[in-house]
């Protein structure tokens, strides 16, 4: 029982990170209908940026959050204006956008490899080994902080989408871009901003990842798969759906150790994905697609 409880807390903490990781992918998919396969590359790049800021300029990872957000917001806008803008929208663009962004990811990986070599890196702060006790079990302080930041990010994103004018425009564009042009919304601008926000969220997730895991240029592949599983589980679009999806995936993965050997943990998400897509194509918590 004690072990199950400890695993449950562990799963909740993990779900926080997973949700933070999936927001960016979910937002971009919900609005532009483009699966940002470069998402993994952004996570990896952000982990390296955080590591560089920490080792060179001694900026604490958590204090580097504003820098990372700004940098990746800019990078996202640049990616939209330089690449994604040229893709055809709708079904025809699906295949092309996948391949284009996948190519971008490969380039990012190669650049990281040339700059930092293929060795594993990690951000080791003075408190990296600190622990806190929750319900009688010890958990790493970093995991708790990451969880809190992920929850804050969820709230911020929710407020942005529900309470601001930009958020209203983003939701409107997600529903029907053509009508938006009729009422005077600059759709291209909203797309660019959405891509920027999505990339900034990926940057945040990469920063959080760098405090938890070791990373190398290939980092991000499994994370993209997991993020996608989460947005599918969550039924696309809603912020709360993504958080619930992350919770389901984290619990499935953590408790799968009772059933399958540990090296298969990363396959759990995939099995879940296929089962959910086949049984409930609109996601566990989705009604119809509303972004």
């Amino acid at each position: 029982m004690g072990q199950a409880l400890s695993l449950a807390v562990s799963a909740v903490l993990l779900a926080g990170f997973y949700a933070a990781m999936a927001y960016g992918l979910g937002l971009i998919y919900g609005v532009l209908r483009v699966v940002n396969l470069a998402h993994g590359g952004l996570l990896m790049a952000s982990a390296y940026l955080t590591w560089q800021l920490f080792t060179r300029f001694h900026i604490d990872p958590y204090l580097a959050i504003p820098i990372v957000l700004v940098v990746f917001f800019g990078a996202g806008i640049a990616m939209y204006k330089g690449l994604v803008r040229f893709l055809p929208r709708g079904a025809a663009g699906g295949v092309q956008s996948l391949l284009l962004l996948f190519g971008t990811w490969l380039v990012l990986r190669n650049v990281a490899y040339l700059l930092f070599s293929g060795d594993d890196q990690a951000v080791r702060t003075s408190y990296s080994t600190a622990a806190v006790r929750i319900l009688g079990n010890s958990f790493s302080l970093n995991r708790v902080v990451v969880f809190v930041i992920a929850v804050l990010a969820m709230l911020a994103l929710h407020v942005l989408l529900q309470r601001t004018f930009l958020g209203k425009a983003i939701r409107a564009v997600a529903q029907n871009p053509d009508s938006c042009t009729l009422v005077g919304i600059d759709v291209e601008r909203v797309y660019a901003l959405t891509f920027g926000i999505g990339a900034a969220l990926a940057g945040l997730a990469g920063l959080l990842a760098s405090t938890l895991f070791a990373f190398n240029p290939a980092f991000g592949a499994e994370e993209v798969l997991r993020s996608f599983v989460i947005i599918v589980l969550g039924g696309m679009g809603s912020v709360v759906g993504i958080a619930l999806g992350a919770l389901v995936l984290a619990f499935a993965e953590v408790f799968s150790i009772y059933l399958v050997p540990s090296y298969l943990t990363s396959a759990v998400g995939f099995v879940l994905l296929v089962v959910v897509l086949v049984v409930r194509p609109n996601g566990l918590f989705g009604r119809r697609e509303v972004a």
Binding site: V107, R109, L114, V187, V224, S266, L273
Partner: protein, 355 residues
């Protein structure tokens, strides 16, 4: 000959070109004095051409991009290698059985996942590929784990002989490519690619067609894996099942022209040349180079080399006849596709910035 009627999907001219191409390539090493290296690499290239075509049946004809085709390549390779090791089966039988097992494996994961479309299917295949790689790496009784499998020396064909087996494999893949595109099935596949529900309404059994294509694609992939095992005489799961290998198949098809009949085979030639000449010198640049190629092709010429050839043909004022480049990249349908797909065009009003 006159008494035999050719099926509707095959014109006499195409058949003639096909036979001529086959004969030239068959005789080439006997007449010309190629170096050992060129000879062997050509054999390997034939296999990659066949594999690229097989990927294209699913990725191009049906429009279901697979990021996990290394799974079938690896399954075919390892089953063939095991059969050669344990039962001392002749290599061709081992390849065929390996191919069939790979085809069945493809159906096993593909039947449920193929009802997904677009990005859903593509990302599911990343999962398939990764899961297969993990299982293969840890299942060391079968695959030899991270130390891999060595094939018995002197039992299989030599690299010299493999040239011709590679050629047969390619010939088979080219014939299948033609049949799948030009026959009734090809029309069905196009319909599925355009709109799966509408295809169902006009009586195209999308499930059956997609399963069939995946099975064929997986089988040919598996045979290619068997060929590769014989060629290398040593295989290990990290290499056979690697994500990079899946990317390779995609890249060959994209470079050559996704969805065209023979484009992917051209793409495979370019891919092997890049690998042998450029990357031998700059191995640290391969991912970036692949990525850059993907980005450039998608942005500027979504039909790859085939698109360039089509443009060139039009510039010279002539409609490409079916028959260019040992069998023809251009069918009326792929030519039409070329016209419909200018990337820089935005299909919706109000997205003026995209133009």
């Amino acid at each position: 000959m006159r008494g035999l009627r050719l099926p509707a999907w095959l014109s006499g001219r195409t058949l003639l070109l096909f036979a001529a191409g086959l004969a030239v390539l068959y005789a080439a090493p006997l007449v010309l004095s190629m170096g050992d290296y060129t000879h062997n690499v050509m054999g390997l290239t034939f296999m990659f051409m066949a594999a690229a075509l097989a990927w294209n049946w699913l990725g191009g004809y049906v429009g279901q991009i697979s990021f996990g085709h290394s799974a079938m390549f690896g399954v075919g390779g390892f089953v063939a290698a095991r059969l050669a090791l344990e039962l001392s089966l002749p290599f061709w039988a081992a390849w065929c059985i390996g191919g069939l097992v790979a085809g069945i494996y493809a159906l096993l994961w593909g039947h449920p996942t193929l009802r997904l479309r677009g990005p859903y299917f593509a990302i599911a295949t990343i999962g398939v590929g990764e899961a297969t790689r993990l299982v293969a790496t840890y299942w060391d009784e079968f695959t030899g784990g991270s130390s891999g499998l060595s094939l018995p020396i002197g039992q299989g064909p030599t690299k010299y002989a493999l040239y011709w087996y590679g050629l047969y494999l390619l010939a088979g893949a080219v014939a299948l490519s033609y049949w799948l595109r030009r026959s009734r099935i090809g029309l069905g596949l196009l319909a599925i690619k355009e709109d799966v529900e509408a295809a169902g309404d006009v009586g195209v059994n999308a499930t059956f067609y997609q399963d069939l294509v995946l099975f064929l694609s997986g089988t040919v992939m598996g045979v290619c894996g068997g060929f590769y095992a014989s060629y290398q005489a040593f295989i290990d799961p990290q290499d056979m099942f690697s994500f990079d290998r899946s990317i390779g198949f995609i890249l060959m098809a994209v470079i050559g022209g996704i969805g065209t009949i023979l484009g992917p085979a051209l793409g495979a030639v370019v891919f092997v040349m890049i690998q042998e000449f450029l990357l031998a010198t700059y191995p640290q640049l391969y991912l970036g180079l692949y990525g850059l190629l993907l980005v450039l092709v998608i942005l500027f010429e979504p039909l790859g080399i085939s698109g360039l050839l089509l443009r060139l043909g039009r510039r010279l004022g002539r409609r490409p006849t079916p028959g260019v480049a040992a069998g023809g990249i251009a069918t009326s349908s792929s030519a039409a596709e070329g016209e419909q797909q200018p990337v820089l065009e935005s299909p919706r009003p109000g997205q003026g910035g995209a133009a």
